[in-house]
Chain length 139, copies 2
């Protein structure tokens, strides 16, 4: 497949967990809603775990639940947890350093990239998981 849909999956998963409250939710159960394989879900959950957004338990009656309340989880946190990368990529191979443009363009692009990424983070930071849950419930 092509484009990275992990952020979308993460929002879907977190919405499901929020609705389950304190209950542990199994990856198999989440996979049914997302319509994919349970391992794909566990891979996303692993990243959300490391970011401290969810808590998982192994063993019988194990599963995953939210580690923070939905109001305290910003979409920016989720986006960063998934390490989705940047809005645009820099040159694949370094440009010709003997050309005045080639020599300087990388630094300029890098600054621009950081600014755009920061802008996306700020925009995402305006919303929390609670907002998403509310919109999903109102449709």
């Amino acid at each position: 497949m092509a484009a990275n849909s992990q952020f979308s999956m993460a929002l879907h998963i977190l919405t499901l967990l929020a609705r389950a409250g304190d209950e542990n939710v199994k990856s198999e159960c989440i996979a049914e809603s997302v319509n994919t394989n349970a391992v794909v879900i566990r891979r996303v959950l692993s990243q959300l775990n490391h970011a401290g957004l969810v808590a998982s338990q192994t063993g019988a009656f194990g599963g995953t639940r939210l580690a923070k309340s939905p109001e305290k989880i910003s979409l920016c946190e989720i986006y960063n947890a998934m390490a989705c990368g940047e809005v645009f990529a820099l040159h694949a191979k370094s440009p010709n350093q003997e050309c005045p443009v080639g020599k300087n363009i990388e630094a300029v692009l890098c600054d621009l990239q950081k600014e755009i990424d920061r802008s996306v983070g700020e925009k995402l930071g305006q919303y929390t998981l609670a907002h998403i849950i509310e919109k999903v419930s109102h449709n």
Copy 2:
């Protein structure tokens, strides 16, 4: 290769064209500065052509030059010309429509995606090619 660096290449190319003024620049010449193949450059130029940002001439002494002054080319126009897609992707496969979350999450994500993309466009729209040229020259 992995990430899409066409927007970076486009900015590099347009900066080179701006410096050449009225002169036609050959794809081979641009390729040397970008450190890639001339066909890769012509592929990017083709998109910039369709967007009306550059004008190309075939034949001997042909090449490409800017179609508008750098002050009148916003980074948003360039970004859109490259059709780089979206900041994040929606679900690869449609979620389970029998699940209340699966049924509604797609529309919510689609709205969010549009809002984030619009935000990126606005941020990029704050700059023009002239800004990039100036920064490249000042380093």
